[in-house]
Amino acid sequence: MQKISKAKLYELFDDIASKQTLYIPTDREAGAAEYRKYESGMKLTKELNTVRSAKDFFFPQTENLAEFKIDGKNIEVRDIREECEDFVIFGVRACDAKSFTILDKVFLCEPVDSFYKNRRDHGTVVTMACKRPAETCFCKTFGIDPTVPGGDVSCFDDGESIFFLANTDKGEKFVESISSFLEDGDTDKLMEVQTRAREIMGRLPLAKLSTENFGGDKLNEYFNSDKWAELSEACLGCGTCTFVCPTCQCYDIKDFNTGHGIKRFRCWDSCMYSDFTKMAHGNPRLTQLERFRQRFMHKLVYFPANNDGEFGCVGCGRCLAKCPISMNIVKVMKALEAK
């Protein structure tokens, strides 16, 4: 496999950044990493993962859809879409890389969402294999091997060097473009690192969590479960879990009057919010119980029902870490399973 010595990594970053926009996960403060546009001098985070997921790159929190000019009774619609510029995201974890394929199922199915596709077409995802999973990690539950992270290019760190492995045509092109920095490398040590990481994965507190009791055929069994009341009791109805979640993709479309035109934009929305389904004549999800149930049923039952058994969760553990009241999908799964 082709590799680069870690000492030369930032030289490589400088080179990539000179050709296209490069994003890397970097420390915002101790214990909190985020993706930022790479500039010389910026350092990769030592954190396992970023606080916010990487979905922002393809599905940003807000984006303009169209503009309207109103002149008396006439309206002019302006298509403000522009071809996105090429960009590279470096250091995406296996869970986030997998989340892109889940988002693809939503946004790239007919009718294709051109806003999402535009970014997806121009973004190269360079992933990074995990060596030190956290206690909140449970990607294994969803069939993800974090030591083989996927994306367009997979990267592996054996402590001294970073190895690059292209997975797609786009990835091939990328590796080709940086080939002057790469040399052939021996992967023996890498295999050791991988074996050790897999061994740790097996010892994680959530390693035994399984999806076997969930799936598209469990709708009636779980929808009417009496566990929802207890599970949702403490839920604040905030959107933290949905906004840090790499696979949550619900959105709202809103208009903003700028005083000299109307901007129609879409922004993330959360099924946990009280007004998510509110209509002029009522609300089918009146209490937090229904909203809470919707989120987890969507990930564990509805999504697999519509997508050949694929679950709407990647086990990144962000909601475990960030929920203000520590209620999360793991607790929900365990409670629903318990007979």
């Binding site: 903003f256 700028t258 005083g259 000299h260 901007k263």
Partner: protein, 146 residues
């Protein structure tokens, strides 16, 4: 901040119906000049001014916001302006705390008889805001005119 050569600020003045609005009226009938930058919004009482109104004014392009009410003790509704005083003091202090230039906000008591004071206040406030330049710190970029 760099002041543009011909920068003309937009000033929003919330004027209480009973005193300050009448004061503005009086300055007009007395043919006293005050800058055309000032856009007056009439409110029933200065305490009708919700902090949100002030922020929205900045959002939609104001460079300065001034609230005018009856002198303390003269409120048409007895005590409205006393509440205004506390509320607006705290709000201005908060805006200052967030680093918004403090000269963009003001509160003045102008009675129905003080047409001259109204004109002078507006003149002075407009000058102050002009010196600060366009509102950038509490601006909604989407509303900026290209």
């Amino acid at each position: 901040m760099q002041v543009k050569e011909n920068f003309e600020p937009v000033i929003v003045a919330f004027c209480c119906n009973w005193c300050s609005y009448a004061g503005a009226d009086l300055s007009g009938t007395n043919r006293l000049n005050y800058p055309t930058n000032v856009k007056i919004i009439r409110v029933p009482c200065s305490c009708r001014v919700n902090p949100m109104f002030i922020l929205r004014a900045f959002q939609k392009g104001a460079d300065g916001v001034i609230i005018c009410g009856c002198h303390p003790g003269d409120c048409h509704y007895t005590s409205g302006n006393y509440f205004t005083r506390r509320r607006i003091t705290l709000l201005y202090s908060m805006l200052d705390f967030l680093g918004i230039e403090r000269n963009r906000t003001r509160l003045e008591w102008v009675s129905a008889a003080e047409g001259a004071k109204f004109a002078a206040t507006m003149q002075q406030f407009t000058e102050d805001v002009k010196a600060l330049g366009p509102n950038r710190r509490l601006e909604d970029l989407r509303c900026r005119k290209q």
